[in-house]
């Protein structure tokens, strides 16, 4: 199914359709409406994305996006995308084999948070715990938000770009 058709179906919760700079085009969705969008993607018979493949995040530094100049016009000013955390949802339809990638840009720089979608997809429970563990993203309404891969007393979130490697752990030197 065309991405535009899906975006139309999802209505004004879609902020952007991104096709450039990626091999798999994706939709950017409003963070506050992710739960509603996920339920619609699963229940709408024309979409039927019934399987949540993964939830993950990335820590982007602020980056400059240069815009192409049109012929005969001066180059427009480059836009700065503030970053920092983005959540990526990969969905799959077991009926058609189609895939859908949704992204959410999280507003808070140091304490990013988003609504949990574990009510819609129970599979999200562990994926969200992993994102919390490795990236420090909080999920509202999650039934049991604990670290899952690192041990409970681990300090910091390893996949953040400003993560400092620990020098020792419980007296064991890492040097």
């Amino acid at each position: 199914m065309e991405l535009e058709t899906i975006a139309e179906r999802l209505g004004d919760a879609v902020l952007e359709i991104v096709t450039e700079g990626t091999k798999d085009p994706f939709l950017v969705v409003e963070a506050s409406r992710i739960r509603e969008v996920m339920a619609l993607c699963r229940d709408d018979s024309s979409l039927a994305f019934d399987l949540l493949v993964s939830i993950t995040g990335a820590d982007y530094p602020p980056r400059e996006v240069k815009k192409k100049a049109k012929k005969g016009e001066p180059a427009p000013e480059s836009e700065v995308v503030p970053g920092r955390f983005e959540l990526v949802y990969h969905l799959l339809s077991t009926k058609t084999g189609g895939r859908l990638v949704l992204k959410v840009r999280l507003p808070h720089e140091d304490a990013p948070s988003c609504d949990s979608i574990s009510e819609v997809h129970p599979a999200a429970e562990w994926h969200e715990r992993e994102a919390f563990d490795l990236l420090g993203i909080r999920f509202f309404g999650h039934p049991d938000l604990r670290r899952i891969l690192c041990c409970e007393d681990w300090v910091g979130h390893p996949l953040r770009k400003d993560y400092v490697f620990p020098k020792e752990f419980h007296g064991i030197s890492a040097e």
Partner: protein, 391 residues
Amino acid sequence: MTDLESTPKEGTREIVLDVRTQDMEINMGPQHPSTHGVLRVVITADGEIITSARPYVGYIHRCAEKIAECVTYDQFVPYTDRYDYLAAMNNNLGYCLAVEKAAELEVPPRATWIRMICAELNRIGSHLIAFGTYGLDLGAFTPFLYGFREREWMMSLFEKICGARLTYSFMFPGGLANDAPEGWFDEVLRFCDVFDRKWREYDALLTRNKIFIERTRDVGVIPAEMAKAYGLTGPCLRGSGVRFDLRESAPYLFYDRVSFDVPVGQGEMGTVGDCWDRYFVRMAEMLQSTRIIRQCVELCLAETTPGEVMAKKPKTLKIPPTEVYVGVENPRGELGHYLVTDGKDKAFRLKIRGPSFCNLSIIPAILPGTMIADAVAIIGSIDIVLGEVDR
């Protein structure tokens, strides 16, 4: 207990049970022979009935995703061997396809055919372990030895092509480390012929064994809707009667050029989606794998000549900013790699979606209400590899 609570037969006296048991917490693992690795499950039980189960994972967490950000694309290949160490070829393949899609590398056809043969051989090897250890979990020791006999030959085939027996690092972004040695294809075909005959032995030994059937039928039933809600893929999803296989529904490599069936659970012994169905989907898949391998060998020898198995690529691969997601059908389900690049020689972000991780997350939902002895049968039927759960 449930028998006594049901309506008494005529002529018998109703017995009112006034026995209360105290809820007991039982710790299974991380060192336990039936958890297939360092999995810890804390079970709360009322007598013999499980009331809740909480899995704890992460004992061998190495943060492969962080390592991927610190090494070059080629250097990360050996790390991919080590998440699902029973299907290292398939892991190599998933990672390489993601990097190739991002870098737009053109893989020579011969390399693609050999990749398919290796992936299917490894699927057989992995399912043989699943078959053997599942018998072991349920008290049958012999199938394990039978399974290892054929797996040994499969591993020696890999040893001949790449020198390693468990962690292969044979596929690299762009193709393969080397071409197949002389006579290798003939031996692969011989293996397929022998394997199909041996498969009948396994079937007679375990699949139709009365004790085995009694231990697995109607146990740990996962309905199709529940399987999808928990993100199950691979034999666990197909065991629940959902016909979904990435090789069929979204073909990669040359899977669209070979013919094969996708076995699904049909509730032959009990309910659709019980342990026996999941077990039998794996068994049936092995025969499909040999069928695929035969076609691959034939087409590979007919269409390609020995020699070129690596794409032309720079010594250090640098990938312009882009992002890709590639999922492949591993023996345990969909192995996904989500790769974000930023123009440097290292990945900006690599997310590894391991099928075992998602398949395991259904444990707290299906264990409550079952007997403690069945917990082993259910966890075994999910067929997890902890190296991949923890990554």
